[in-house]
Amino acid sequence: MADVEAPSTEMVEITIFGQRYQVPASLTVLKAIEYAGYRLVHGVGCRSGFCGACGTVYRIEGQYRLHYALACQKVVEPGMVLAQIPVYPAQRPDYKLSELSATDGQNPILEVYPEIETCFGCNTCTKSCPQELDVMGYVSALLRGDLAEAADLSFDCIMCGLCVSRCPTELAPPNMAILGRRLYARDLVPRAPHLTQRLKEIEEGVFDEEIAKLKAMSEDELRKLYAEREIEK
């Protein structure tokens, strides 16, 4: 199928879940796992770096350091010893956003995730982020109640959970971050004023007649109108 490249001549040896395989050097980790014969159900998702399903931990043989990557975005390296971590138990208490408020300087993060105060700033989370986000930075911002900063720093989080797997105080930064972003966007950013106006107009039926007219038009009439329509610069 179209997703499998023709194997290049150069092969590298990697170790997948404890077994050694020869795979083409040009493949991503995900495609290498499939090349080796695994038909994945877990540890695979959008295949484009957006969904966080394919978090992978690896070492290079002979070196002790651990590295972190998304299997769909990382090209194999010789001597890679890897395992996927498709899911990791992460704390997410029951909460209802409607019962929380971030206005007037309140910081609901401390109520929902009181354990956030145990963060001692080791920065392991940041080192394990395949998106290269400043995870510790956003955790600190959440702790301080600076939701704007936390929202900005955590925005590109794809919730793969690799930081959760590494945190020595067992925190779940991605879950804290999404609560922070939702509170920030809902409570600290003004609602779009033009949107409020438009909703009122629609409810008053301002556009009903025009829409009805368009719906009743023949294809030719519509084509003409479309061709002549003005386009905003």
């Binding site: 956003l97 590109d156 809902r186 033009h194 329509r229």
Partner: protein, 542 residues
């Protein structure tokens, strides 16, 4: 992984013409030229790639061969072997599919009093929604209106769209944006709350709302978090493989399959909403795809077998700008927002060949034409492409614009040694979206009682071609509508004795080929990218 010498020579030409192209506006195509371009170069017009359906509600209609063989495929379970008297799960409303249409459907069904079960093939949120980068349309600026949006949608769809569905789409749009805003979805805004909006292909007003270039991901994770905050049951890694009816002919549940336990699960429900998305992983005509691993058209197959009518299944959307290089990310989406921000498409000589914001089918056909007439750039693996001149964005809008507006894109190319803020990127059309699907009414209902559908799995809203930013809109608008309508229906509905008689009839329709197991098993559930050379040979599988 950075560019080869030969590619660099072409890039030099792109750089040489950049300053001149700043003020150069390539003319839009006229009606006649558009038709010629599409007929000669768009994959939908490649007659050999299509088959005519022989059985079912759309018998006589054309659809890509790969889809036809699944629609007329062999069910995974035989009706005689499933004991429907043993019901494992029960709900008022069963939502099949955990993406951007399924989540709003579940939320609205729950709000309207239904006990909701959402089942999904992979993880909750594993969907094309998650990868939708560019934006969501809504006519909420003073110079815009739902009527202007309506006209854009109809024009984009070649005037074949269902007017009632388009009306629902454009009139609900501002309400959906407010709904998302109130759930804490982080749209790009000015300090006073004004939405930062831009153009997409085929829009006549700047109505594309975005959340950097993670718009779909931001919407999906917000919706998912909200579902998790409600009393809604979610069952992951349990794809539906067949719908169940009752003796009165109403859809009344589904047979689920547990991947991990290799087990059948019977779920009974008063109403079922299908939100399973599209079928890019069928790789029509061998195209690479932007789609999620799970996009295998399962919902179409299941709905077709219970008698649901499909529409526009002969038209697929090829996103004009899929990554053509490096090979590791072949076919992955390069968001239309890149062109929305001002990047032009140019050929190997650094010359424009199409207005950069035509509707997607026109853009895709123009790129195919450029490659066929030898004006493309060929990569070491033989893939042809054209340049998307991304550095132009910063010439127009100042340094730092790209990093701020397109962080996901920058990251993706940087991982392979390409700096898209300084170098153009090579693109070629990639299979992106299923324009058609299950025919629905504006409330998400279908021609089969008890069966609802929303999102990419449906057909009619976009006619023959969808505009950018109308799919994130469609899933939320119609997900909400289907959820509400299904809950109202379920409140009054009775479920009779469960049956799979429709599958017996289906086997009869298929004839002896099905019994002889000659037909493809459907739904497909997952693509197979494994390489089992030896096994396939020995066991005679290929």
């Amino acid at each position: 992984m950075s560019y080869t010498e030969e590619m660099r020579r072409s890039i030099a030409k792109v750089e040489a013409t950049r300053q001149r192209r700043l003020d150069e506006v390539y003319p839009r195509v006229g009606d006649e030229e558009k038709r010629e371009l599409l007929e000669n170069y768009h994959p939908d017009y490649n007659a050999e790639a299509f088959a005519t359906l022989k059985v079912g509600p759309n018998a006589g209609d054309r659809t890509p061969r790969e889809l036809a063989s699944l629609l007329e495929g062999r069910p995974r379970v035989h009706p005689d072997k499933v004991d429907l008297s043993r019901v494992d799960l029960e709900a008022d409303v069963l939502v099949i599919g955990g993406g951007g249409a399924g989540a709003p459907a579940a939320l609205l069904a729950q709000e309207n009093g239904a006990d909701v079960l959402l089942v999904t093939k992979l993880r909750f949120g594993d969907a094309n929604t998650m990868m939708a980068q560019g934006g969501i349309q809504a006519a909420d600026k003073p110079n815009d209106s739902p009527a202007i949006h309506y006209l854009d949608v109809m024009g984009g769809g070649h005037f074949k769209n269902d007017p009632d569905l388009v009306e629902a789409l454009v009139m609900d749009a501002p309400f959906v944006i407010r709904w998302l805003e109130e759930m804490g979805c982080m749209f790009d805004k000015e300090p006073d709350g004004t939405m930062i909006t831009g153009h997409g292909g085929g829009t006549s007003r700047k109505r594309m709302h975005s959340a950097r270039d993670y718009t779909g991901a931001e919407i999906m994770r917000t919706l998912r978090d909200e579902v998790r905050s409600r009393p809604i049951r979610v069952l992951e890694f349990h794809p539906a493989i067949e719908l169940i009816k009752d003796k009165q002919g109403r859809v009344a549940g589904a047979i689920l399959y547990s991947f991990d336990r290799n087990e059948i699960v019977v779920a009974r429900a008063k109403a079922v909403i299908i939100t399973t998305g599209g079928g890019g992983r069928l790789h029509y005509q061998g195209f690479p795809t932007t789609n999620h691993y799970g996009a295998t058209a399962d919902g179409l197959v299941m709905a077709y077998r219970v008698g649901a009518k499909l529409s526009f299944i002969d038209t697929m959307q090829y996103h004009p700008t899929g990554a053509a290089y490096p090979e590791q990310i072949l076919g992955q989406l390069v968001t239309e927002k890149v062109r929305g921000l001002g990047a032009q498409l140019v050929n190997a000589d650094g010359e424009q060949f199409v207005y950069p914001l035509e509707p997607r089918d026109v853009e895709a056909a123009a790129i195919v034409r450029e490659c066929r007439r030898g004006k493309g750039v060929v990569t070491p693996s033989g893939q042809c492409g054209v340049w998307l001149d991304s550095p132009m964005i910063e010439v127009k809008r100042g340094p730092g614009t790209i990093e701020k507006a397109l962080p996901a894109m920058v990251r993706q190319f940087k991982r392979f040694g390409i700096d898209m803020t300084k170098e153009p990127i090579l693109v070629y059309p990639t299979l992106h979206y299923q324009n058609g699907g299950i025919s629905i009414r504006p409330d998400g209902s279908t021609n089969v009682p008890g069966l609802y559908a929303a999102g990419e799995v449906t057909g009619g809203t976009h006619g023959r071609n969808r505009l950018m930013g109308n799919s994130l809109l469609e899933i939320t608008v119609f997900g909400r509508r289907a959820g509400r309508a299904a809950a109202e229906y379920a409140a009054k509905a009775e479920v009779g004795e469960l049956t799979l008689d429709h599958l017996r009839e289906w086997f009869d329709l298929l004839g002896p080929e099905a019994a002889a197991e000659e037909l493809e098993l459907a739904p497909l559930l997952l693509p197979d990218y494994t390489r089992h050379e030896r096994t396939d040979e020995v066991l005679g599988l290929e």
